[in-house]
């Protein structure tokens, strides 16, 4: 069976209540799943003898501020998965609400998720429950806020022109 069909079969048989929809765009296969099932789904994909999804190529996130109703949540966590033995890449996406962006960590399935989840936590503010060491990774110590969110200020300081060149630097908040 082709990997594409095997994934669909596995998800619809074992996790029929958790898979929201499947999208196919130019041979890119994407599954939207519910947040509470992500750990079980990932474990099943890794352990499946035919698929062996053993490589979490990337874990990232998208802020859909202003598109919450259309997308079904504000934050989207993207799992870029790859099976080395079958050379097949596909995506799993999870939508999270704005007021409580929390999801289970997948470090138990792929240890490489550790730093990727820390990066997403650092820049987007998504909390990964069960992560062994969830702290900021890129921004300096004591940094506040989540810079890659859409509502984070785009510029840092008021630029100095001739009319305000003598004012002290003013940080935009």
């Amino acid at each position: 069976m082709e990997p594409r069909d095997r994934i669909r079969q596995l998800l619809t048989e074992q996790f029929s209540g958790s898979v929201i929809k499947e999208e196919n765009f130019r041979n890119e296969q994407t599954f939207f799943v519910k947040p509470d099932a992500i750990l079980d789904i990932c474990q099943a994909l890794l352990e499946d003898a035919e698929l062996k999804v053993d490589y979490l190529a990337d874990l990232t996130s998208v802020d859909w501020l202003g598109h919450e109703e259309r997308m079904g949540g504000r934050f989207e966590v993207v799992y870029n998965l790859y099976s080395i033995s079958t050379h097949y890449r596909f995506f799993i996406k999870v939508m999270l609400p704005a007021d409580k962006p929390e999801i289970s960590s997948v470090t138990a399935v792929w240890p490489g998720a550790n730093w990727m989840e820390r990066e997403v936590y650092d820049l987007m503010g998504i909390v990964f429950t069960g992560h062994p060491d969830l702290k900021r990774i890129l921004t300096p110590d004591g940094f506040e806020g989540y810079p890659l969110r859409r509502d984070y200020p785009l510029t840092y300081e008021v630029p100095q022109f001739s009319w305000n060149k003598n004012d002290p630097p003013e940080v935009i908040t």
Partner: protein, 167 residues
């Protein structure tokens, strides 16, 4: 004193200031401090095409203990800022700083949370070299300007908290 007339080929009378400044400006050892794309232009300045050793300052030092000029070449991130300040403090007096490029001077196009908006917030800057990135000729112009500045210093000058002469 008539000393020059008696042994004209061996003695030059000068002031202590001139001699000290001459020693300072003609063998300034820069700290290798490349942070971004400006560093490529800085390396090019030191390399064969432009050959900064003509001004006696081609000896890039990897250790701040042996350097007396810091060329900040590139944008300084907020995480790099304390490191830069530590390196500056480790340099022995007298020491000078050239801020190379728009990013080091004022943040440049990176007006965001990650980049320090001008290296003069944390270290005193002697010469600003504009450009994005500046060409090697511009950096050399900046270095010549710094040599002019060093030439005006005196050992009698009042010193600020960093031991720098107020010129």
């Amino acid at each position: 004193m008539g000393l020059e007339e008696k042994i004209p080929d061996s003695v030059i009378l000068t002031t202590l200031d001139k001699m000290v400044n001459w020693a300072h400006k003609r063998s300034m050892w820069p700290l290798g401090f490349g942070l971004a794309c400006c560093a490529i232009e800085m390396m090019s300045t030191f390399a064969a095409h432009f050959d900064l050793s003509r001004y006696g300052m081609e000896v890039m030092r990897p250790s701040p203990r042996q350097a007396d000029l810091m060329i900040v070449a590139g944008r300084v991130s907020m995480k790099m800022a304390p490191v830069l300040r530590t390196l500056y403090d480790q340099m022995p007096n007298p020491k000078w700083v050239i801020s190379m490029g728009a990013c080091a001077s004022c943040g440049g196009i990176f007006n965001n949370y990650a980049i320090l908006q001008g290296v003069d917030r944390i270290v005193p800057v002697d010469v600003y070299v504009p450009g994005c990135p500046p060409r090697p000729e511009q950096l050399m112009q900046g270095i010549l300007k710094l040599q002019e500045k060093v030439d005006r210093e005196s050992i009698k000058d009042k010193r600020d908290e960093w031991g720098r002469a107020a010129v």
